[in-house]
Symmetry: C2
Subunit: 425 residues, 2 copies
């Protein structure tokens, strides 16, 4: 029965039952963390053979004879450029292989733009009184944190099933020279798990921004992170931009943080040769070279894109059952009440749910009091403010299945309790 259709008496009795169930869980004093999109220990174990790839000093040379143990090779080793170029569908000269964090590459890219501008900027972004970024919502809190850090005003753009609202984006960027960028997670978006349709990608490649130095920050974080045998596919944004002659408009990012190791993966950046050359020149002031040994370790272990795909199939075996469990529990325990909406992602790291209006914070609070830490309500919106207080990001990958089940029981009862409170208020 739908909660909204219950009589006041039925609702009160429902609430009392929920309170009892909640109190029982709370009494157990559990401590579970579903706050961040972290791989589980079992996933990390998969890549352990990566530490056996070096047998001697000779094994630490690149194909072109560079000793990965010494200085040099700022934009990454040839071997890694071939592997990740194949993965992203870009050429070697369109790539920069970075350190262990694509977040750092994105931050550094914005930081450089603030102090020096991007390729063909008239002036550094920091020299404007105010600049703005478009932020599809819900979105990734760390993208938004970079904007807030640099005082970049964020304009929320609603997401649909095919990507962000392109009408709104086209209109805004064509009118306002101070809009300098947009954050996109085009495949299995964080947190919705939405993949951009071909039309969406083509409309991105066709944007005519008023600002010559507008950039699409294309964070392809989940490029091989599929949960089904029929994975989503997106168009290659750089190829599409080349067709429209706007290949300087996009910066692509990816990493192996959720392929190999979250603390010790490889970050990658791609874009037009002009963009890459411009960035390389500035980046050379910051760094002599990134960790080439770790780059070569990845190449020797994965060998090629097929190797990465085979590895990710093993990840899927571990995490798909966790997503299934969460969706099953929501279906069985909550669906008929009609108080929660959620997505069924084909990949990525999250299940995004929307509560009744004004309930998300309360659900997160109830979970926390019962020992389950979720991502803060509002975190998926700029400035941490979800105007409808509805969105919660569930990150099911880290806990073992049994812990996830225990956590989801608490989550479900918290949703029911918060919804009943809301409807009775």
């Amino acid at each position: 029965m739908k909660l909204a259709e219950m009589s006041k008496e039925e609702l009160s009795s429902f609430k009392a039952e929920c309170e009892k169930e909640y109190a029982d869980y709370k009494a157990k004093g559990m401590k579970l963390d579903m706050s961040r999109g972290k791989p589980s220990t079992a996933q990390l174990d998969l890549a352990m053979p990566m530490f056996d790839v070096f047998t001697n000093a000779a094994s630490m040379l690149t194909v072109d004879g560079i000793d990965c143990r010494n200085y040099g090779c700022l934009t990454g080793i040839h071997d890694a450029k071939i592997l990740f170029g194949d993965l992203l569908g870009v050429k070697e000269e369109e790539l920069i292989i970075g350190g262990n964090s694509s977040l750092a590459m994105m931050y550094d890219t914005v930081a450089r733009a603030m102090t020096h501008g991007v390729y063909e900027s008239d002036k550094p972004w920091g020299k404007y009184d105010k600049i703005k970024f478009l932020c599809p919502v819900p979105g990734y809190d760390r993208h938004f944190a970079i904007c807030e850090h640099f005082g970049i005003e964020m304009i929320p753009i609603p997401m649909s099933k095919t990507g962000p609202d392109m009408d709104m984006i086209e209109k805004l960027v064509s009118e306002d020279e101070t809009i300098k960028g947009i954050w996109c997670v085009p495949l299995y978006s964080n947190p919705d798990g939405i993949s951009y349709s071909d039309e969406t990608v083509r409309r991105f490649a066709n944007l005519s921004p008023k600002a010559d130095d507008f950039r699409i920050f294309w964070d392809n974080a989940y490029c091989v992170h599929h949960l089904t045998d029929k994975p989503d596919k997106i168009l290659n944004i750089l190829d599409e931009c080349k067709k429209t002659g706007k290949e300087d408009m996009v910066f692509i990012f990816a990493s192996t943080s959720k392929i190999s190791f979250s603390g010790a993966g490889i970050a990658i950046m791609a874009g037009s040769v002009s963009n890459m050359n411009h960035i390389t020149k500035l980046m050379g002031i910051q760094c002599i070279s990134y960790d080439k040994i770790n780059q070569l370790r990845h190449v020797k272990y994965f060998k090629n894109v097929d190797g990465i795909m085979a590895h990710m199939a093993k990840h899927k075996e571990i995490i798909a059952p966790k997503f299934d469990l969460v969706l099953d529990m929501l279906n069985k325990d909550i669906k008929e009440l009609d108080v929660l909406e959620w997505n069924h992602p084909n990949g990525g790291y999250f299940i995004s749910v929307n509560t009744l209006e004004g309930c998300a914070k309360r659900v997160v609070e109830l979970c926390k009091e019962a020992g389950v830490v979720l991502t803060s309500a509002g975190a998926t919106f700029p400035y941490g403010k979800d105007p409808a207080d509805r969105n919660i990001r569930i990150a099911p990958t880290f806990p073992p299945l049994e812990e996830l089940e225990a956590a989801m029981k608490i989550f479900c009862v918290s949703v029911k309790l918060a919804s009943a409170e809301k409807l009775l208020a």
Copy 2:
């Protein structure tokens, strides 16, 4: 015989002999690189057992049970803080363990200061019309490049045998609020190999800058890079600053780039708790965590400071003979001509030489034409401009001994030839 005391005929005949010798070398078509302070292959080989420290997943946990393979631990693992805290003589909470590059930590520190200021700045450094850094000369070209990149005006400060000219520094910083920093390589300075006297360090700790947010960038790059059994010692700048109540005035940097691997070492930053907390907060926007696996790899291999010192003794065995060779050749081949001055460093990576005025560029050019690449003349000065055109940085560590000898023969004849040309002009 001193070259300056030769008659014109003697000098012409000397020059003709040098030209002949130079032409002979040039005809050999050698290709040798002494341009950067890179460890040799033999040095890199020393740390190869570092790749055998992980036996299984359990071996990748920190002492406090953190899985180094996953996200988290922004300021570094406890294990690494103990090791490097002991090495630098600072407490755990006074340390941040970074990625593979101390240059990147220095760059990032300046970059953050430009956009956000340092702890207790009234405003970001970038909000001033102009700010300035003091630059002891000759110095490290990459320090100067950071300043140039951010438009920070550089004021050269002459070096003496005890460190930079402290009278000049004290006067300048006390008078000018826009002087925000100074670059120091306090032990075995780059390129002179000079170590700061106790008085110099104490005078640094006693500085009374007009700018409240003035910072000493204390790049202790060669903290364990001794070439003799009686190594130089410097006072602990953070301790000295605590005595004067000015512990917020210094940022300390170090790395294992020339201890373990130049491309894949560990960078370290240290300073007051207030400074470290301020930086940690801002750094959290840029990065989730640095490579903790590599941090733990270093700790498991070196174990403690004694382990590092024992390892560095093996480095000394390899590189001290190279320094001796260079100094011997200069002594035997050039000294009596009185056209070149040089230092006898007790550690570090360079031998700094001064030619007759106006000859450094010519020497570098002659070497290059004969196949020996040296650091560009002028590189050791702000904006690449050595006003007297005298200083050349010799980096003897990278080539094997026999190649170094061949390169130094070309260097010596180039010095002689350039000096003769100068005196005949």
